[in-house]
Symmetry: C2
Subunit: 321 residues, 2 copies
């Protein structure tokens, strides 16, 4: 059995990167970080609980990736450049065959984004992973939720719904063949945070949010904070590769309300359409125009023929479901 | 039953302070904070798990205080000025009669230190409280663990062991009368982070650590990081008001190895003795000189007559006990 200090030393301590902002990392009362002069610090926390956000037998490498990915996604939605994170970890027991792949999955994604693990905490307890992440953004350039304006185009990145489709298969709500599952499962287990797109949209997009609880619910938060409404072309929503092959009802339901997509939903002025496409190309991420921001509050859903849909999207709420 | 968003709005969202560093707080993908120019950011994370760090029936007001206090204590041990924190909270259920006093206890201590709640996460799960705290310290003035030098005096703040004595009473390892319990219990449930002392020791002390797992163990980390040893006058250790009345053996054991004290242990050059006493007076916190830093590694324990003690202090390790 590893001690707390051996565990940290073995799996979570590494020499600082040559271009590190960190004057002092893991192993003191605090980490010390020197923010770049003139930049704002973007800070986000996400907590993942075993049995709620992932299953007890979740592959630890993929889980390590996912825990950091959902935090990176929050920075992406702010247009912030990742710089560092802290990890607080409650574990039932300190098992090397879990910790080794978990830390490897997490640190591989961290390295890919130049995001340094600078501190944290480990304790015995029900498996819980709590990350706080730090990024930098120039003042006035953050993609805030409250910055959408009437007349803006509404966009989403990548595709929606495949993570929810994979979950449906695990819950035996529907069945997927091997090929469909191979397409859908990675979207649930190993989401891709749209960091490059968030950075490329600085100065172009007005408002952004990442889609973690389902597009309709998350877009609702953006609309509420911006004191606006929106009209959404539901059949224009880009369904995931597996979901595309399902019937219209399921496509609508999972693109609108499926959770765990970690795509960006953002608004941008109509005159920036070309700039949005160029930013997306530079970031290597597809984007789709899916509606527009209205002055009137509320979310209006239209089908492909422009008719109003009667379905009400239900957002995923952690204390209601 | 409250929703996640109602819960955050009701208990954890407040208007920003007039002198806030926070451009954007609770309610977006990230909080935005503008660090003071030229300052280093000190960052620490602590996670408290129900059944491990506190009992399920712990008073929520006091628990809210304690969770933030242990994080403030890490800033104190760095000589950092608290500025903000994030809170990630897993709850079995969102009960107002628990959340209301919990948030009140936490935010009262936050206000006392000008430390703003800027974001976080809430989810359903086994009761777990994960805080990441931010403070500021001028470059080169942080009280790092690796800065102790041979010849330094060794100091502790306040008194030691009463938190452990209260725990012993709860565990029925010993019995305390009502008066003793009234002295000891607050040290366990509502520790006082020595923030003012940490700030006052900037430029005076060399190294510092906060005593959370017991003096001997925490001092051991400081010695190891500084590549030095120490000689400790065990009978000079300031026992808590309740522990003072117990026998010598228990006094030694709980002052040396009792956890949850949240006092500071620090080293300072001999020529700074007067400055240390003045800093302590300015901070309103007693300090006691309890030994010295040696070039030779290891921790040597002496009794009141200067004889070597044979007892080996055992530190509290979360994965071993």
């Amino acid at each position: 059995m590893l001690s707390e200090f051996e565990l940290i030393a073995r799996y979570f301590s590494r020499p600082p990167a040559p271009d590190s902002r960190t004057a002092l990392g893991v192993g003191d009362d605090c980490a010390l970080m020197t923010p770049a002069p003139g930049m704002q610090l973007a800070i986000s926390s996400d907590m993942l609980v075993c049995g709620r956000h992932f299953l007890p037998d979740a592959d630890p490498f993929t889980l390590g990736h996912k825990c950091l990915a959902v935090n990176l996604s929050d920075l992406a939605a702010m247009g912030a450049q990742p710089i560092a994170f802290t990890l607080a970890l409650a574990l039932p027991e300190a098992r090397a065959d879990w910790l080794e792949p978990f830390s490897r999955g997490m640190l591989a994604l961290a390295d890919a984004h130049g995001c340094e693990l600078i501190g944290g905490d480990t304790t015995k307890g029900p498996l819980t992973i709590s990350i706080t992440i730090f990024g930098e953004v120039p003042p006035q350039q953050a993609l805030r939720r409250d910055a959408a304006r009437a007349g803006d185009d509404l966009w989403v990145s990548g595709t929606l719904g495949d993570a929810r489709l994979a979950l449906a298969a695990y819950r035996q709500e529907c069945s997927l063949n091997a090929e469909e599952l191979a397409l859908a499962a990675p979207r649930m287990h190993a989401p891709t945070p749209r960091v490059a797109l968030g950075l490329a949209l600085r100065g172009i997009a007005h408002a952004a949010i990442d889609i973690s609880d389902g597009l309709a619910g998350d877009l609702g938060h953006l609309l509420q904070r911006s004191h606006v409404g929106a009209t959404l072309d539901v059949d224009a929503l880009p369904a995931g590769a597996a979901l595309q092959q399902r019937d219209l009802h399921l496509r609508r339901r999972f693109t609108l309300s499926g959770g765990d997509d970690y795509e960006l939903c953002f608004s941008a002025p109509v005159r920036q359409r070309d700039a949005v496409y160029k930013a997306a190309q530079a970031a290597g991420t597809a984007v789709t125009r899916v509606g527009s921001i209205d002055a009137a509050p509320g979310l209006r859903l239209l089908d492909a023929s422009g008719e109003a849909l009667q379905e009400t999207p239900d957002s995923f709420d952690h204390f209601r479901s």
